[in-house]
C-alpha cells in the first residue's frame, strides 16, 4: 500500500490573496488559527468540508489547494 501524503499550498494561496493572515483565513472558514497552522504544516488533514471552504475562500478548486503526493 502506498503512503500518500496530503500536501497543500494554503500558505502560498494566502500570500497570493494579498497577505491574508492565518487569523483572517481561520475566521472566514470557521476554525481556529491553530487549525490553519496545523494544516499548513501538514500536521492535520482537514475534512472535505473544510478543504472545500478553504479552496472557495481563495476562489480555487480543492485540487488546486490540496493534492496527494507520493
Amino acid at each position: 500500500m502506498s503512503k500518500d501524503a496530503l500536501t497543500n499550498q494554503v500558505r502560498r494561496c494566502r500570500f497570493e490573496a494579498g497577505e491574508l493572515t492565518q487569523q483572517g483565513l481561520a475566521e472566514r472558514v470557521g476554525v481556529t488559527r491553530q487549525t490553519i497552522i496545523a494544516i499548513e504544516q501538514g500536521n492535520y488533514t482537514p475534512s472535505l468540508t473544510l478543504a472545500l471552504k478553504i479552496a472557495r475562500t481563495f476562489g480555487k478548486s480543492v485540487e488546486e489547494v490540496f493534492w496527494l503526493e507520493g
Partner: protein, 140 residues
C-alpha cells in the same frame, strides 16, 4: 490561551471540585455506615438533574470546538478511557491480592475505586489536552 488549554484547565478544575464535594460526603456515608434505598434515591434525585445539566453544559462547550479540536478531544477521551480501565484493573487486582481471594473486601472500596478512577481518568484527559496545547504553542 488557546481553547484546548482552557478546556484542559476547566475540566481539571471541574473534577477537582467534584472530588472536593464527593469525597467528604463519601467519607461521612462510610463512617455512618449509611444503609437504605432512601439514601440511594436521594443521591439519584439530586445527581441525575445535576449530571444532565453538566452533560448539556459539556455538550454545548464541545459544539464550540472546531473539527481538529474535536478530534483531539476524542483522542484524549480515548486515552482517558484506557487509563480508567487500566486503573480499575490494577486497583481490583491489588485489592484482591492484598486481602486475599477468600477475604472480606470492604464495600467502601468499590465506590472509592470508581471515584478515584474518574479523577485519574480526567487528569489523564486534561494532561493530554494540555500537552497538545503546549505543542501547538511551539508550532506557532
Amino acid at each position: 490561551m488557546n481553547r484546548l488549554r482552557k478546556k484542559a484547565i476547566q475540566d481539571f478544575i471541574a473534577v477537582c471540585v467534584f472530588m472536593l464535594i464527593a469525597f467528604p460526603f463519601f467519607v461521612q456515608f462510610v463512617s455512618n455506615n449509611t444503609q437504605g434505598i432512601e439514601y440511594a434515591l436521594i443521591i439519584i434525585i439530586a445527581g441525575v438533574p445535576t449530571g444532565m445539566i453538566a452533560c448539556l453544559w459539556e455538550f454545548n462547550k464541545f459544539k464550540q470546538l472546531d473539527e481538529r479540536e474535536r478530534l483531539l478531544y476524542q483522542q484524549a477521551n480515548y486515552w482517558a478511557q484506557g487509563v480508567f480501565v487500566f486503573y480499575l484493573s490494577g486497583f481490583a487486582l491489588v485489592v484482591f491480592f492484598l486481602i486475599g481471594g477468600k477475604g472480606m473486601v470492604p464495600v467502601w472500596l468499590l465506590p472509592m475505586m470508581v471515584i478515584s478512577g474518574l479523577f485519574v481518568a480526567q487528569t489523564a484527559l486534561s494532561f493530554f489536552l494540555f500537552r497538545q496545547s503546549l505543542k501547538e504553542e511551539g508550532d506557532e
